[in-house]
Symmetry: C2
Subunit: 207 residues, 2 copies
Amino acid sequence: MDYIKDPKRIETKSMEIIAPYIEKYNLDAATAKVYSRIIHASGDVEYAPFIRLHKEAIERAKTALKKGADIYTDVEMVKTGINKKRLARYGGTVHCIIGDDKTRELAESEHITRAIAAMRIFGKNLDGAIVAIGNAPTALFEVLRLVKEKNILPAVIVGIPVGFVGAADSKKLLAENDKVPFITVEGTKGGSPIAAAAVNAILYDME
Amino acid sequence: MDYIKDPKRIETKSMEIIAPYIEKYNLDAATAKVYSRIIHASGDVEYAPFIRLHKEAIERAKTALKKGADIYTDVEMVKTGINKKRLARYGGTVHCIIGDDKTRELAESEHITRAIAAMRIFGKNLDGAIVAIGNAPTALFEVLRLVKEKNILPAVIVGIPVGFVGAADSKKLLAENDKVPFITVEGTKGGSPIAAAAVNAILYDME
């Protein structure tokens, strides 16, 4: 079994293979890194035409992260996937409360998903922070409600929930919002590694 | 913002939407659940024709899990994604040592990936266990080497690493092996939620 065992070579080779698939979009270097990492995390070059980045998303995220902004995620897998050591360099941490008792209690009493309950409990903490959603469309709908109704303004929303019920609609709403810069992927595809990859691409591109 | 907020309804509706895409494969009920959960986790109906299940994979996994078999994963995200409460009903736990010092030390001294080092350290523990790989092709190559050279025989290998360097090759090798039942997806696509979804589909189908 002869295969590449050196992590640096695997990474370099991967990015070389991905490069031709995003060439035609004429992306700046920082944006190309987000595209590459998303394709790398999914193994799916067909993501490229569906990625949507607000023009200020990367710079706003970097500025916030440098000031020590925290990251709020919908599910544990997104938290697991984010490079927390890199984030800690700037003082930030990652929060996820989907499994907390208070989240479950609110979800049960209000007949809502735990993802909605988690975002509602985060509330004002999302102001100026990075939101990273990789699983639950309902979390993204709720954050967009908080933006609209409560004027809670995250620095950036990385909103890449997945699935066939609400994912495409919630991401469309995110891309149409004019208050918060965003990174998203149109349609049903997405997931925790995709959201984490977008966040990590930005973290790896800092300093 | 009018959208479905009830988790049970979201789940049911998702599975209803996915069903027509897998109808033509004439799958038995347990296999259909694995297909559905993979498509659900990826938001990608195009997975269907590339899913490969050894005919004994599900039954062997269930038998092993009922006896309290543990699950060994390549990365933390797969561990995070697996329903550990369900697994604990039968006495099993999930192991991941990708971030351990001993794994890093072996990787550095041998110039191999940490994923290879982790599988090598697991070694004999993989005998009779469930292996779930959702990220690193090198982990899957190493497990297949342990099968071939050391006669270490997991009950089932859920091998769904992702990416452009080694993923497709390692999964092809897995599907060609005649010693261990497997669940895999041909090609470059895959990932931690996909591997976890396959494992969870089996756990949810037990008892």
